[in-house]
Symmetry: C3
Subunit: 469 residues, 3 copies
């Protein structure tokens, strides 16, 4: 038996509270999944090909998994991660799977363990816990199922009860897969999200060439400020045409700026000429957040800010393996000073939604809940990344609710590229929220009828509303 298949998973142990949590969960567990922010590959839904072998699907691309194994001395090459210089690496899915299985005990107490056990049991019908001895049986079972038609992406999309899922594409993307999905007649709703980092962040690889390309595909003159902004407006409109209801911005900090038109124009021209002054590059990123917020006011796209991750912290790992291999580390992040220019510009607008995320939990009660609890334009994104976990989500509720309430938050984001784990992630979030609400009810801070309503809003209603889905 896999322990986390227990129907009381994550519910508080005290019998009375547990019973309340069960009731609340029973009312929402079957609600459709609304996934307003994530990183699954639209190609999957477009082509609907079978997924690759178990290791390529579940291990190799999951940075939560490879980082943990690497931290305990297992080479990334042995986990199927390809070095950029063409050095050899493990290509045998079964060998990767065995290495993972032998070390599955390392994930005790982590959300990865909960998500994977959920996938094993609920998606693949496996009852036996994963370890070295059972590794091959798991592998064979999963591989066999993945080859079946009813385990192809669109079939899973239906089985997962996904009402709508958002993917994330760069500003230069032609959204070909999204067009293919739209034209296919398949009724699954897959929308894109406008992610302009590559043409907004002067530190992004190939920034200058990116701006040239940005001009080509929009027909705007990205050599000047007005044309550059116009290119954004055009691309945002194009993304909206393929379902986008939001933009997303992954800056190193939450810094915003509100320069005069002339100063912004002048700054852009220096940046466009390749300024290597770090303050100017930072200021440009800061100014662009405010510009994007202003465009949101015009075109209605919901704006998401994901700040505070030091990307690719290990220089050596970055040079050997490239981006997104588990070396992104959170940093202390200020919001009160950083967001003020943007908030002074558009923070009081009731027609605007800016959703802020954080990797710095010390900002929940001190900064973010107080800000979201007064600025109409500001909402709090759910516990993010390393904090997308039972303890992390509990702390999020405990530290934001008393000041911002539930209704300045926006429901759950799975934020994942791991498609098979999406139901598991939503299920964990729903359970943790029900456990939190059950405690409020048990402590007579909330009525059970209200708790049912809130549970439904947190699981479904708030995400639809905040993201206009």
């Amino acid at each position: 038996m896999i322990v986390s298949t227990d129907p009381d998973l994550l519910f508080p142990p005290e019998a009375g509270v547990r019973s309340l949590a069960r009731d609340l969960y029973a009312g929402i567990k079957a609600l459709p999944i609304v996934s307003p922010h994530g990183h699954t590959d639209p190609r999957w839904y477009a082509l609907n090909e079978p997924f690759a072998d178990p290791a390529q699907l579940l291990i190799v691309p999951d940075h939560y998994i490879v980082r943990m194994l690497f931290s305990q001395g297992i080479a990334l090459e042995d986990l199927g991660v390809a070095p950029l210089d063409g050095s050899p690496y493990e290509r045998d899915g079964r060998a990767i799977w065995r290495r993972f299985a032998e070390n599955y005990f390392l994930f005790r107490g982590t959300p990865t363990r909960l998500w994977l056990d959920h996938v094993f049991s609920h998606l693949f019908g496996i009852e036996e816990p994963l370890d070295a001895a059972s590794a091959d049986r798991h592998y064979d079972t999963i591989a066999a199922l993945l080859a079946r038609d009813d385990y192809r992406p669109r079939a899973l999309f239906g089985r997962f009860n996904i009402e709508v899922i958002a993917t994330t594409e760069g500003a230069l993307d032609d959204l070909g897969w999204h067009r293919m999905i739209r034209d296919s007649g398949w009724p699954g709703r897959v929308v894109t999200t406008y992610r302009p980092d590559a043409v907004v962040d002067p530190d992004f690889e190939g920034f200058s060439a990116n701006l040239d390309r940005f001009g080509e595909i929009t027909g705007c003159d990205t050599g000047n400020w007005a044309g550059y902004l116009q290119a954004h407006r055009q691309r945002r409109s194009f993304f909206k045409g393929l379902g986008a209801t939001s933009s997303d911005h992954g800056h190193p900090t939450a810094e915003t700026a509100n320069l005069s038109e002339a100063a912004a124009e002048e700054l852009f021209s220096r940046i466009r000429r390749g300024s290597d002054d770090e303050r100017e590059r930072r200021l440009f990123r800061a100014q662009m957040l405010t510009e994007m917020a202003r465009m949101s006011l015009d075109d209605g796209l919901v704006m998401q800010i994901h700040p505070g991750s030091w990307r690719n912290h290990s220089a050596a790992a970055f040079h050997r393996f490239g981006r997104d291999k588990g070396f992104d580390i959170p940093t202390r992040t200020d919001y009160v000073t950083a967001l003020k220019p943007l908030l002074d510009s558009v923070g009081l607008e009731r027609g605007l939604t800016v959703i802020v995320f954080t990797l710095d939990e010390s900002s929940y009660a001190r900064e973010l809940a107080p800000l979201a609890g007064v600025y109409p334009a500001l909402k709090l994104g759910p516990a993010w990344w390393f904090h997308d976990s039972p303890e992390g989500m509990r702390r999020f509720r405990e530290m934001t609710t008393e000041t911002a309430g539930f209704y300045n938050t926006v429901g759950f984001n799975d934020d994942t590229r791991a498609f098979p784990s999406i139901p598991a992630r939503h299920d964990v979030a729903r359970r943790v929220d029900c456990a939190f609400l059950a405690r409020l009810v048990a402590e007579h801070r909330l009525g059970m009828d209200e708790a049912h309503e809130v549970a439904r809003d947190l699981a479904y209603g708030l995400a639809k509303k905040a993201y206009k889905l």
Copy 2:
């Protein structure tokens, strides 16, 4: 039924711990209220006139309430908040009340919800939960009671079992209401608190004129450092004459300084001439905290420092509505470096009490508990403002007790201008402390006899002792 009227409100759900919490609470629930720090209007006790309509009493002046409603898109004007430019705003109490009632669900999970439900049920005898349907009935019930003599301020003071309450007045206040109370023969004990921000903070509106006025009313020459300090001494003495046992200081940071006499004198003369050097203005505020601490050593006033709030964060809201409309946002606050000059000067004095508050919970276990756990002059104020809430108070105990103990804390402050909610606020604090103590007893970390003693100290004894009331 209003759910939070349950006698077990806020007690832990497990039967054994709950029973311990009940016992502890039974021993303290009837203790008189000592309210050593707050912002009620002394005029109320002086004139003893009936309170205004329900909305003017409970909604319009409560920034917790208006900020939440504003964050969800309701205009401040529609909540009865008057724009400074004379634009129209809602003056109909019933209309304001209805808007509030329709949106009362927004407060689920917040302390405001607990306080108001307590007021509705315990003060106004209402059994029906507030929502759009019941709004008018609530309004009528409350309005009718407020017109009665036994709901006038002095009657409520008695009914609330208030032993003593402190208000807060600026250094330039003539304390006329306090004199009227004293001379009235009414036995209620209302004391003032010396709050000199307007004559200490060069950024305060009208600072220079304030200093002129400070000189006039004291007969001291506030054109020089010695006269300026003398004016403080004189006003402190005057405030003591009207019951003050403490001073209060609301600085942007906890920064203190300990300049030589000559340097302080020179700094004052630059400030007095209107220096606009931000470093000098900051340094002056910092120096004045140490000066105030030294005066406390002489005259025995307990010193309170409330740092770390960015006041009026939204420029637009400040210009339209003025101060204190819910736009004060906490900032990251350092204490270890900031307080060192003051502590080096007077921190080892056993005859001095400096009570420090924070809006930055990350400083509880890291900085404040270790500091208060060794410096005799330093005590920890209770969980403040956004943290004056069940989860906030629980975190305060969990993060300070192990290093500072209970006896370097000072009991509860309601810190409120919302007079009707004072019993609710003290009740929540007492319940949360009893819940915390019950857990310690249930985990065999504390004896039940000791827990009873501590509960009584936290609810009553420590505030009296720390504030010399």
Copy 3:
């Protein structure tokens, strides 16, 4: 009865979880103590003389105790702490003990209370709680037992079931006591730890003379960089010869540097000439952490970094009483930026172990767990100092496990000079970990078989493995 002698001490109150915690604890409570980091005096084990009177053993040297009493207005002199200027101080152990006993209530809710009650009951067989009335009886009981042979250091070492204990010695120490222990034939395993702060930190008292002496005892020329590094290598080897498996570094911050050979050499020569440039002194400390890590790679010593304490915060107390009198205060500590140079140099090495501690809990989930969860060389030390407490250890697990897992942590450190309290401290840690694991099991996040395994690893296995003991 002393309440904390209850067998369920620190276990969660809910019956089901408590039962799980009991089972887990039953499986590990008798495991030997592995104490890989601490500050007991090797002289005790070498000479095996009886301990001094109760106050000199339990009160005077314990900065947790004297700081709390001092914070409540009791003079350090009255607690037996000797002023440096030869002023009188209390030398009567019984008088000190009485003062302590009268104020024992101040420790309610603190770990000191748990540790001491454990010592009173389990080591000295006392059943009566300590207070003013029982003070003399406690004193007499303890004094009588301390005079017995079976309460001498080596006897207690055996009774405490200590498998191995590490002490900490400065780089200039001759390790005479350790040699005496080794040569004595006594089978108790006491190892040293290399602590080079006095020859690494330019701000250390007597730094320049220390370097001279460092040269003398190693025969290396500490006038130049190569010779200075060679002296370290030689001393490390000498310490290894007396059992050391680790080094320890107590820097003000976690700052590291990775200078070129030439720049490091040039920096050393400036430092050696007595540079008083604070940036250079800081940079030197930073560079030396990386140098020490490189040496660890060669000689296999595990490296411990204990940053973020502002030592001797009160200038007045430091001048009157000297170091380590309870005036060390934690400060906000950055790790992501600070450790990057060291991690870029050696962070991917699987053969290296760098154990990082923190006094800033806000870094647990934000920085330290993400770093340790990917860098093979990095492990997390247990909750340290003010956080070595039930709530502190619980927060450590709750905030690190989900990202770093259990296996990037290193078990418990008692970090104490209070020898009699060592079993108490390990017992508290084991109980808190069992309580945490029991909750995971009760919430179906972990199987009971796994929890037993993890409990054993946290109590015993991880410390042995991480410290190579």
